[in-house]
């Protein structure tokens, strides 16, 4: 191939994309010596998306020109582009089908190995098929995500075969199954309101909570959220009121509200369902958060594989702005707040809050060292409230019903309702809203899980397998912690007795191997060694000390990694070994932490 240089001229098509995405080049910038310029770096990821969508890849010439325009060093921009699974730095087919081969899809009767699916697809066409981690549509397994570039750039989600996926361009996906056993606080409007219509949202109680919030003032809102006992639904269960108060009390004036909608934990899709079905509630909740903590700007970071959610949330923001519910004088209250949607690009780690900030700022999605915590130094180094989609949806619920009523549902330590994403070997996969304290077996019955035998994975790849005789677990933060489990993102993936759990465990270990950001040694190398060891255990080539090796790996990843990805990369494996779920592997006596 002829050698191409980042200093050569981009094609006219690339120039058009860049003109639209980032504007013209500052004429004083010398492309040969690009230092880090001021302020515009956060446009890097959106611009890389624009090139990927418009041209199909990020060429050396386009990258060079983009870097000159944004004043970002070329090597750094290349480092960013190569971090993400949905961005390509080599020319390839204009259409790529990302075929999920993750834990829920691979146990579906219609599932086919992506490699086989590729082979079966008419050869010679400009279609690539890539195996993909969970696409967040496990309720519609086996899942596909199509990325088409060029003049008709589009992204859509699909099910079934690759040929079907290519044929269903733009058709509405089947509506998800949503069921509430108890108050439908979070899901009540889903499937009932028109997600595009602000009027319909208002007709169903929308924007009443913001009116209350503006009327009672920030201190009262902070008190209400704190009194409600609301805890984060993104996995760490941190008290939301404490987080908000820390930001509100900050001495720094520039503050941010960030919604973490990167939902990439295998088996989890509830945030997608909330955003697609009730997008205005998210906009309203973020506005309340901004009013409470004094933020002027908000971002919703939505994973790149959620085009409908992105479109609906962006539309809702647009409509709200149009009606004066966002902007320099929100609802005539003097509050100055606006929201922007940012699209992720295929990286599980960007759901970790500090990695998300780096990604949004135009850096590699590598987690930062904590402390300092986001409440002190978050997005752009400023105090930041970062909350999960479901956490934020609870905010309108609390302001509408009052903290006291909120606390009457659930338990003292886990008040309110919780969404569970249930998929795998169940008759009725979907999103289930239940009061905290509902037992796991009750939940499984609702979803039509098979009776005896099999296994349940609670909390996704970062979670743990539940012993078949322990499914009477009350689903609360405190009970799961006492049982040595975690609710995590609230995913419940069910495997009937025909499923080879060793295969699921192996997939989980390759997930962590693929998704490690690579920054720290325990996780970058440890996840590879863990995957290799599980492969050895399963194919009969285990080394004498492999059991001990797995415990040592669990120990160092759990103890010495930088972030939660490394900390939890061994939990599913350890729990499966302890329960003797991996055929051929000796049941271990390890305590799960390697300590």
């Amino acid at each position: 191939m002829e050698s191409r240089s980042s200093l050569d001229a981009p094609t006219p098509a690339e120039v058009r994309v860049l003109d639209a995405a980032v504007g013209l080049r500052h004429d004083t910038v010398d492309a040969r010596v690009i230092r880090r310029g001021p302020d515009r770096r956060h446009l890097l990821l959106p611009a890389l998306h624009a090139l990927q969508d418009g041209v199909g890849w990020i060429s050396p010439e386009a990258l060079g020109e983009l870097c000159a325009r944004l004043e970002v060093p070329r090597a750094e921009a290349f480092g960013v582009a190569t971090f993400y699974a949905l961005l390509r730095t080599e020319a390839g087919p204009a259409t790529v089908v990302h075929a999920c081969d993750d834990i829920a899809c691979r146990v579906h009767p219609d599932y086919r190995d992506p490699a086989a699916a590729h082979a079966a697809h008419a050869a010679g066409e400009s279609v690539g098929v890539h195996p993909s981690p969970c696409l967040g549509q496990c309720d519609r397994a086996p899942a596909l995500f199509v990325q088409r570039s060029g003049a008709e750039a589009a992204r859509w989600r699909a099910v079934g075969s690759v040929a079907d996926a290519l044929a269903t361009a733009g058709t509405e996906p089947a509506s998800p199954r949503v069921l509430a056993a108890g108050p439908a606080w979070l899901t009540g409007r889903i499937g009932v309101v028109d997600p595009a219509s602000l009027e319909d949202y208002r007709a169903h109680g929308g924007y009443g909570a913001l009116r209350t919030a503006l009327a009672v003032g920030p201190d009262a809102v902070l008190r209400e959220i704190a009194d409600s006992g609301l805890r984060g639904r993104g996995g760490a269960a941190f008290p939301t009121g404490v987080k908000w108060r820390a930001v509100a009390a900050s001495a720094r004036r520039e503050r941010y509200v960030v919604c973490n909608a990167d939902e990439s934990e295998p088996g989890t899709f509830k945030d997608r369902v909330l955003m697609e079905g009730d997008p205005y509630a998210l906009v309203e909740s973020m506005t309340i958060a901004a009013a409470a903590v004094g933020a002027t700007r908000g971002y919703v970071y939505i994973r790149g594989e959620y085009p409908e959610a992105e479109e609906r949330v962006a539309h809702a923001i647009d409509r709200a702005r149009h009606r004066g519910l966002l902007g320099s004088d929100v609802a005539g209250s003097g509050l100055d707040f606006d929201i922007e949607v940012r699209r992720g690009a295929g990286a599980y780690i960007c759901g970790e809050e500090t990695a998300l900030f780096n990604s949004l700022e135009g850096y590699r999605g590598e987690p930062r060292s904590k402390p300092p915590f986001p409440t002190e130094a978050g997005l752009f180094g400023r105090p930041t409230v970062v909350n999960n989609v479901e956490t934020l949806h609870n905010v309108t619920v609390i302001l509408n019903a009052g903290a006291e009523a909120f606390r009457r549902v659930g338990t003292a330590e886990s008040p309110g309702t919780k969404l569970f994403s249930i998929a795998g070997s169940v008759a009725n996969p979907g999103v289930y809203e239940v009061p905290f304290g509902t037992r796991l077996d009750e939940l499984l019955a609702l979803a039509g899980a098979p009776g005896a035998g099999g296994a349940v994975l609670l909390g996704g790849a970062a979670g743990m397998f539940v012993s078949p005789d322990a499914t009477d677990l009350p689903l609360t933060f405190e009970d799961s912690r006492m049982a040595g489990l975690t609710l995590g993102s609230g995913s419940v993936t069910v495997f009937d007795r025909s499923v080879d759990i060793g295969d699921i465990v192996e997939r989980i270990t390759s997930f962590f191997r693929d998704e490690s950001c690579g920054q720290c040694v325990p996780c970058r190398v440890g996840t590879v060694r863990q995957h290799e060891t599980i492969v050895r255990l399963r194919n009969g080539s285990a080394l004498p000390d492999d059991g001990e090796l797995l415990e040592d790996l669990a120990g160092v990843m759990g103890d010495a990694s930088i972030c939660g990805l490394g900390h939890t990369a061994a939990s599913a494996v350890t729990s499966a070994l302890r329960l003797g779920l991996i055929a051929g592997a000796p049941a271990s006596s390890g305590n799960g932490t390697g300590r």
């Binding site: 240089s5 980042s6 040969r32 010596v33 690009i34 230092r35 880090r36 050396p60 990258l63 060079g64 060093p73 070329r74 090597a75 750094e76 921009a77 290349f78 480092g79 190569t82 971090f83 730095t89 990286a347 590699r364 060292s369 191997r513 693929d514 998704e515 490690s516 950001c517 690579g518 920054q519 720290c520 040694v521 325990p522 970058r524 190398v525 440890g526 996840t527 590879v528 060694r529 290799e532 050895r536 080394l543 000390d545 090796l549 040592d552 790996l553 120990g555 160092v556 759990g558 103890d559 010495a560 990694s561 930088i562 900390h567 300590r595």
Partner: protein, 307 residues
Amino acid sequence: MSTPVPVGLPRRKVDVQVNGVERSAPEGATILDVCQAAGLEVPTICWAPTITPVNACRVCVVELEGARTLVPACSRRVTEGMVISTDSERVRASRRMVLELLASSVDLSRAEADILRWLEEYGADPQRHGADRARVSEPVRRHDELYVRDYDRCVLCYKCVDACGTEAQHTFAIAVAGRGFEARISTEFDVELPESACVYCGNCIGVCPTGALIFTREFDLRRSGQFDPGAQAVTTTVCPYCGVGCNLELHTQDDQIFRVTSPADHEVTSGHLCIKGRFGFEYAGGARPGRPDTSNPETIRDADAPA
């Protein structure tokens, strides 16, 4: 980097306990600072005195009472009442694993002497990860006569990236590309250095702890088996090219310069140089090894180059 001049109130003291002994440290000090002041060795790979910690290698972890996980000594600042163990069984286990994981994936044979010693001391056993384990496998990048990049030895400590970028050179010729185990130090699209933004200051070589970045002459000597610490000398001199006055250390073997460094604690350079000081010997025929800086002959001393 010179120590900041204190202004305003003097820094307060923080009292902590390290391995059962009460210690006091100025506010803002790291656990590593406290340990170093107390004469306790804490291994470090990605930390350097002149670079803001990236805390990526995790070999410096210590146990902090009340913390769920171990914490990196190099970057965690002390706060009042911290109870720290630097040598517990749990700490040693993690350090051993970090060293073992590194040794299992890259070639550490030319790493700094300390790293080789820690591998021994902590009992790292890379072989137990099996013969078929994945390793970093990259071609040697030798694109010119100045320096070679041999990423099979790279531990991704980020030091070269930071030296090239925010911490010294502000050139940003190299960065980490890719993700996870596939992450590599790279120019944009892996173009050769002359095509990149590189200005050949060699500051990346100066900070590399593993020999992944190495002067071409040294690389050739080592590859041909002629590298001979017994026949080597280090000569300290001052760079003749401009008025800044950077200290140079010329490393020679048989009258040939094979490496040029500057002391990391030198107040002008902090170990960093420019192309003239670092590689100027290539065109400065006058810099005859063995006959350098005759005004200052006592600076000639034996090399302590790693084997």
